[in-house]
Amino acid sequence: MKELSELDFPETVRYTEDHEWAAVDGDTVRIGVSDYAQDQLGDIVYVEMPEVGDMFEKGDEFGTLESVKAVSELYLPMGGEVVAVNDALLETPESINQEPYGSWIIEIRPTDPAEYEELMNAEDYVDMLRG
């Protein structure tokens, strides 16, 4: 297990208590899981994703990550409509381990863009992880 100091928490994205990240890209938001999450889960071997067009509320379960250790639910940091899913992860789910912030899972058009501001910044997230 890596020390927190060895993990990467870029300031360009926001974080949730469930260890997802969200990154604004124009009028859409990309969602993935944090370096901490992938380190805890171990080898990610399968990703279950929603369909393009699915609508979710903030906090809804939108998919699962399957690692050697467990099956983990993914929760949406912000409500919105799925506009893209990262199909490349079906073939190479391990890229989430290798590049957690490069490996977005879904892209949404948020219902309320202001929800982004309610998410934790890197500093608050690391504070939460430190307990």
Partner: protein, 425 residues
């Protein structure tokens, strides 16, 4: 909760980036930075080494030792080796279980005969004291000494097709020590546990080498005195460096053993009747399974049982698994609950090719396509109320996710555990 115990490699595990978790009473590595998938595949294709010092060793010495084991352990030590069912002799070992009088399981174990009246019993983590006490309770007037070696020895498993090549490099006269070593035999000794054949490390350190393991693959379990353990671990890693050896954690151990249809004690076997499961070879059945060749603790309860749950291996159709918990169930295809899930892991070395399960180790001549890339299959054990035929489909569910799996006779094909050692050196 009891204080977390550690093995002598604990500092090494932390320094080398292991992801740690509590297993039994011990803080153990789940995987190292290579990851559990790479570790699992290393054991299929080259080798892996596991810290298994959390397991417990008990020594039995004296005239009454064999008789006590005959009464408490399920295997018939006078009829257990090979097709001929010849008696256990010094330098050989057998797998069986310790039962309560009611036929439920205390623990599974490998029993070694080291000398004439000298036996060694290897049980699971935290079970040394419990099994030693159980043996003591039943010894009556038998003349023997029972010694609990818990936390006194170091134990590691080298598993995988190149295991013998690695071990040969760290043993003095390694080729001679390993020559002719059959499955379920041992050589050497340590700390008063001495088999008839000598074995030592290059520097003369005594070592007990056992051709056994918990992965279904070719390999060895090594026992040394505690103070020699960390240096042996480093010696083995150095010897295996150019042979593809990886240190492996408990996650790979679990997925390998599940694919090899080996039970995890207190999960797949436990405080319920040891009946109707894939491990009946642990019992001294006479031909035709009508009776036992000896009497032993729990025998009457097993013979009297007419009904009960059935424990069966399964494999899925892709790598998706469910996390086993109190809300996981087995249902039939109509959705009616028929039992519970005991183990659900992913064997990362296998995949389905048509009707067949193929492993990364399956020879091309036996059906492995040239471009075969194992994606992994979920597998494990279910305990169901009525018997299910091999090939029957059932559902595993955790309330949210549902996966369809097939009842199997066997799971990962082409395992290397029983290959002759001449083919592996």
């Amino acid at each position: 909760m009891d204080e977390l115990r550690t093995t002598r490699l604990h500092a090494w595990h932390l320094e080398n980036g292991a992801n740690m978790a509590r297993f039994g009473l011990y803080d153990m590595p789940l995987w190292y930075p290579a990851g559990a998938k790479a570790e699992h595949l290393a054991v299929i294709e080259s080798a892996g080494v596991f810290d298994t010092s959390h397991m417990a060793v008990i020594g039995l010495q004296g005239e009454g030792a064999r008789g006590l084991l005959q009464f408490c352990f399920t295997k018939d030590l006078d009829r257990c080796l090979g097709k001929e069912k010849s008696p256990l002799v010094a330098g050989r070992c057998v797998y069986g279980v310790f039962l309560q009088p009611d036929g439920t399981v205390i623990d599974d174990a490998i029993v070694y005969q080291l000398g004439g009246n000298d036996y060694m019993v290897v049980v699971n983590a935290g079970m040394g004291g419990i099994v030693a006490e159980h043996l003591d309770l039943h010894k009556g007037r038998a003349s023997l000494t029972i010694i609990d070696y818990t936390d006194k020895l170091g134990k590691m498993d080298i598993q995988g097709p190149v295991a013998a090549k690695i071990l040969e490099k760290v043993l003095r006269n390694g080729d001679e020590v390993l020559a002719g070593m059959v499955y379920f035999s041992c050589r050497g000794g340590c700390d008063g546990l001495q088999s008839p054949t000598a074995a030592a490390l290059l520097d003369g350190t005594p070592i007990l080498v056992s051709r056994t393991g918990y992965t279904g693959e070719f390999g060895f379990e090594l026992f040394v005195a505690g103070e020699n353990f960390v240096s042996l671990w480093q010696m083995v890693l150095a010897a295996g460096e150019d042979l593809g050896l990886l240190p492996c954690g408990l996650a790979a151990r679990d997925s390998l053993r599940a694919g090899a249809v080996l039970p995890l004690s207190h999960q797949d076997i436990g405080p319920w009747l040891f009946a109707n499961n894939p491990w009946q070879f642990a019992l001294p059945w006479q031909e035709g399974e009508r009776g036992f060749s000896k009497d032993f603790l729990g025998a009457a309860a097993l013979l009297a049982a007419t009904d009960g749950d059935h424990t069966l291996p399964f494999a899925g159709f892709d790598l998706r698994k469910i996390t086993v918990g109190k809300d996981t169930f087995v249902t039939d295809l109509q959705g009616d609950t028929i039992g519970q899930v005991l183990t659900c892991a992913t064997d990362m070395a296998i995949g389905r090719v048509g009707e067949m399960i193929v492993s990364a180790a399956t020879p091309a001549a036996e059906g492995r396509p040239e471009d075969f890339k194992p994606r992994g299959l979920s597998c494990g054990f279910v305990k169901v109320r009525k018997p299910q035929a091999v090939g029957e489909l059932v559902m595993l569910t955790d309330g949210k996710r549902e996966i369809k799996v097939e009842i199997r006779q066997d799971i990962r094909p082409h395992r290397s555990a029983r290959r002759p050692i001449t083919a592996m050196l």
